[in-house]
């Protein structure tokens, strides 16, 4: 069994308009040393999926799953206190906005060590030594001085490095990164991605990276899951999926990014016309059919999941 095994995860949100099905039966698995990228447009449920794994959903949201097992433990059966012992300890998470994700009132050192000291029950000196070590590992110079600084004294890129180092403090098995580079400058994005890839390998992490950017996926993913309207519509090894996308939505996403050497200079990049359907209330058939140029009558029926021998699967009548 994989380190993280998710089967038919659903997240429902209560809204004044009715129940919003933010995540609709998502299944995936990740192992140590693997990087799974959850890709999709904003609002496709990928952030809700990650918050559901952490049990950090907003109050209005409820989570259900056939299986939500982590290291052989069923997360759905854990008490809040036991779940809290896993969070930040064996499952760590970093977020999109490094500018606001750190508390402005406390020093970097304090925020880096507080979780470690709680989970590992060690003293301040030992925790700080580890923090200095990790800050150096994520490429921050004069780490010892940084511990005494406040978040506002650091740039966005540095703060995200601090967030990464903090996430690694307890030596987690699983790291969830929700759009970790979206808020950063392009040059910094590349550095942070490379760093994440290296660290995942070095620490033997299972990395779940959530992004809307296929460029990011191409750099780092071992496997990809493409999400649309709360569902996974295609999944497979990164190389397979990029070489031969089987779902029209994936194809559309790939057409939107220029490929150096392959996209002719001056040619138009693709765009997917139309809007995502409302997720309030029941949704039958393929959610993408209103925007799909290959749509046909049987797209309105329940479409089975089709997987090839290499584990490359898609939910489409054409696949």
């Amino acid at each position: 069994m994989s380190l993280l095994d998710v089967e038919r995860l659903t997240v429902d949100l209560a809204t004044p308009q009715g129940t919003l099905h933010a995540v609709r039966g998502v299944s995936f698995a990740v192992d140590r040393g693997e990087t799974l990228c959850l890709v999709g447009e904003s609002g496709c449920g990928k952030s809700m999926t990650s918050l559901a794994l952490m049990d950090l959903l907003p109050k209005a949201a409820s989570r259900r799953a056939v299986r939500l097992s982590f290291g052989g433990v069923e997360l759905g059966d854990l008490s809040p206190a036991r779940m809290n012992d896993l969070r930040g300890n064996r499952i760590a998470m970093i977020f999109q906005e490094p500018m606001t994700a750190l508390n402005p009132a406390y020093t970097i050192g304090d925020q880096m060590t507080e979780g470690f000291r709680r989970h590992k029950r060690v003293g301040r000196a030992q925790a700080e030594a580890r923090a200095v070590d990790l800050l150096g590992r994520v490429g921050i110079a004069s780490a010892r001085e940084r511990l005494g600084q406040y978040p506002h004294q650091l740039s966005g890129g540095l703060r995200q490095r601090v967030m990464i180092a903090t996430a690694l403090m307890c030596g987690p098995d699983l790291l969830i990164a929700d759009e970790p580079t979206t808020a950063l400058d392009v040059t910094i994005q590349a550095q942070i991605l490379r760093l994440l890839g290296e660290l995942a390998e070095e620490f033997g992490l299972a990395l779940v990276l959530i992004t809307h950017d296929l460029g990011v996926v191409a750099r780092i993913a071992t496997r990809v899951a493409v999400m649309y309207a709360g569902e996974i519509v295609e999944t497979g090894a990164a190389a397979d999926l990029f070489a031969a996308p089987r779902h029209p939505y994936t194809q559309g996403l790939l057409d939107c990014i220029p490929v150096p050497g392959r996209t002719p200079r001056g040619s138009r990049l693709g765009a997917i016309p139309g809007v995502v359907p409302s997720l309030v209330g029941a949704l039958k058939g393929c959610a993408f059919r209103s925007r799909c140029r290959f749509a046909r009558p049987d797209c309105e029926t329940d479409i089975p999941w089709r997987v090839d021998a290499r584990g490359h699967g898609a939910r489409c009548v054409l696949a």
């Binding site: 930040g88 760590a92 994700a101 508390n103 402005p104 009132a105 979780g115 709680r118």
Partner: protein
Amino acid sequence: MLAYALKRLGLALLVALAVSAASFVLLRISGDVALAIAGEGARAEDVDLVRRTYGLDRPLIVQYGEWLARTLTGDFGQSLYFKTSVAGLIGDKIGATVILAFASLTLALAVALPLGVLSALFPNTWIDRLSLTIAVLGQALPNFFFALALVMVFSVKLRWLPVSGSDTWAHFVLPAISLGLYITPPFMRLIRAGMIEALASDYVRTARAKGLSPLSVVVKHAMRNALAPVVALAGVQFGFLLGGSIVIETIFALDGLGYLAYESITHKDFPVTQAVLMILSVVYVLLTLATDLVNAWLDPRLRTG
């Protein structure tokens, strides 16, 4: 930080000067002070005599300059009604007012802090509705009416507490409750709104993702940031309490600055009114300065910037 403090101090001094001039001029131009001192039916010669005796016939700016010069040396003149030094009078009375203000503020915070935090943690529950009810009532009940109702219940019916005076701590209970209820709503609203904002913030989500204890998430991460504006409000409210206790002190005949101000006004004792007004304004300016500095010191962005 030092430059910031000096700048704020300079501004505070300017404000204090402007306020002292404004209050001086306000009292002088709103009516004929000499006539007020001499009495309604006084003859014209007597009024003139009063005017010359007190130097009220000179230009306002000269009168103000002289008054300011004396005031700065701590000489507030003589009370017309109490026939004693104004500085001495104020020294006698200010203690009761400060005690009352402290007691009211403590009471208000003791109610607003837990209720504000709990109603932010559990919105739309009975505790949220209870705090909302207290806030709405506290804002709508005229505090003198509330004070009289308290007297009826606790002094007249139950005979637990004295009706008036300022001799023992028991005399301060009802006045402090009356004033405390009045200033509770703004604290409660500020704390609730601040906590709701902080609890929804990214850094609180980070703290949760680190698996910190719920207590640490709420107290260390959310409250620390939500309560910073409360310091500023407490400073402002303390200043308001010193000046606003006039109604409550009068009802309970609590022998403080507010009651003194009331008596000086009804007896047209201008030196006393002027001095109390000046002191309250300057104290307010100093309080806001102090809270600004405390806030700057609490906020690492200002402290280290």
